[in-house]
Symmetry: C2
Subunit: 353 residues, 2 copies
């Protein structure tokens, strides 16, 4: 069931078409096929495919090259497909995070045949899951040449306002152990799930920091995102795992973040599962400041982790800029305003044309 994408249709229509191609992390082949096929019909672009990541580049020999990046995947379906349009809003899974931004990127790729800077568009997979599966990370490891540039725009939802920096993210399992026994003779065993009450109590009483950097306030968070335990309906469980996600201000390193988690869960077993560093807002860098000025001047902090951090680690200044309210990302009722899709495209086109 291959889907054909028309990149000449207006950005809002294209957004709805992208939402209607289900692309939960790990299931991006259909959308990547559609994106690859659509871009391949434009002779000003060289298109390459890397797993379910699609790269399209102009090769005009300009003095500077800009990277525009967006992920194709979404969090799991939550009774929010297909797309639905009403009152100038596009509702549906991924509408906000981040098919509106992908639509803007695809429209620019198709229509900017003579940009003032060379452009590299990257549409990639597995952003919403463990860092090690991230398509952009894979590309950075295998084909760093394809990511070269003087500046990157990551089109994550940011209310069509420049968001600078991003928080780091770390996932740990906090594990409690017990001893199995028949639940009818519970005094012979130790219940690992009951012991996890301590983990949840510490999470509930935790006071996250608010950290000011370059005039922006980053707001940390510590949350259980998963819990599992149990052997059978009549057996005292000998293990319980709480998966905890820590979002930390970019002034804290990954090592410092993990040390903090070990402190919070002192006396408990903590296993590091996944980690990605934050990125300082870098508002003092000329490229970031110039871009922000070109598209409107206002700058906000980014709470969520985005691949801005990955570009920062590669030495490429980067910002988030895209349609949609980031507070709606990953919610059942996420939507993106048509007006922001149009505004982002107009401002980027003015900057690049």
């Amino acid at each position: 069931m291959s889907v054909k994408l028309d990149l000449s249709q207006p950005g809002p229509d294209l957004t709805a078409a992208l939402v209607d191609i289900e692309s939960v992390s790990g299931n991006e082949s259909a959308i990547a096929d559609a994106v690859e096929a659509a871009l391949s019909s434009y002779s000003h672009l060289s298109v390459s495919r890397h797993g379910n990541t699609v790269v399209a580049r102009t090769g005009l020999g300009r003095a500077e090259r800009i990277v525009v990046a967006g992920h194709l995947d979404t969090v799991p379906v939550n009774a929010n497909l297909p797309s639905r349009r009403a009152d100038g809003l596009i509702h549906g899974l991924g509408a906000c995070d981040m098919k509106g931004g992908v639509a803007v990127g695809l429209r620019l790729a198709a229509s900017l045949t003579e940009p003032n800077r060379d452009l590299t568009y990257v549409f990639y997979d597995c952003e919403e899951v463990e860092a090690e599966r991230n398509g952009l990370g894979r590309l950075a490891a295998e084909r760093p040449d394809l990511l070269e540039g003087v500046f990157a725009v990551v089109m994550e939802p940011s209310n069509a306002v420049v968001e600078a920096g991003c928080q780091g993210t770390q996932r740990v399992d906090v594990i409690t152990r017990g001893k199995r026994s028949h639940s009818a003779r519970w005094w012979m065993g130790v219940n690992a799930i009951h012991a996890a009450g301590e983990v949840l109590a510490r999470l509930q009483s935790y006071q996250p920091r608010r950290v000011p950097i370059d005039g922006l306030e980053y707001r940390e968070g510590l949350n259980a995102v998963g819990i599992s335990g149990g052997v059978a309906g009549n057996v005292l469980p000998d293990e319980c795992r709480v998966s905890v996600n820590y979002r930390f201000a970019p002034s804290r390193s990954e090592d410092e973040a993990f040390a903090h988690l070990r402190d919070v869960f002192d006396g408990l077993e903590v296993e590091l599962r996944d980690s990605a560093p934050g990125a300082l807002p870098g508002l003092t860098r000329p490229a970031a400041a110039a871009f922000a000025e070109a598209v409107g001047g206002k700058v906000s902090p980014k709470f969520g982790w985005t691949d801005v951090a990955r570009f920062t680690a590669l030495g490429i200044p980067a910002v988030n800029y895209g349609p949609g309210d980031p507070q709606l990302a990953h919610t059942q009722a996420e939507f993106v305003p048509e007006s922001e899709i149009l505004e982002c495209e107009r401002r980027l086109r003015a900057w690049l044309a």
Copy 2:
């Protein structure tokens, strides 16, 4: 890979052979095949198969009929297969619960060609899981004629001592709900797993009753046997389920037990998943008292739920009597003493020959 069982070998050898046929609940076809094939070679038995339950009956026209029952399934594998013998003990999954008892039943079935009472042997599946899957329950519903009798011996581990009555068991899900959001903007959501801390706190502070009945003391218990929650590694979870198992004294009805659980978890959502009543010890019934006297006189309370309750509900007096320490049931290191296998067989043989 069909296995041939030799019912003329000594009970301990037969027990080890039964342990070595893995038969975790739901996977009993191999052991049921072996049991059915072995029993079918004896002309004094009529053998019938019902799913993975095998029934063998004598038809001598005796005045009374006795039912001897044992389940073929075990709890999940826990690095305790194959069987291992040392110092007069048989170690391995199901050795205690209850392949030692099954071996005794099979040996009696094969060798008691002229018992003083007619006998019905029932070897059944899915005792260790939800009551609705229980093979004996299925038989009681579909072929109650096959379970007729004046008295039943359920060969659950009881230290080769008569255990009377059994506790009831009930499983409920206690559910906490929240609201999904991106974990980087946790203040937009409500974390259902954090809310489950209240469920675990109530379980930890719960004081189970000790209930005296007919001179026996029943010891209740309330334990989490499973917990689950989580949507994705970067999403605040909107639901968490704690599966709770309540073991209650046989003087409490199922309705009373559920009312008690609703009280314990007052203010929380409680869903009934599975329930089975207890059975009063019934030591005043002549059949139970006579059997206890015949095999040794001592009587203990049964903490675990067993199908004694099912026979009681069918109007058939029943007791637990089998080799193995019930406190070892469902533990990783369960074992059964060879001496108890031999003693149970000897005493039952003396009563029935």
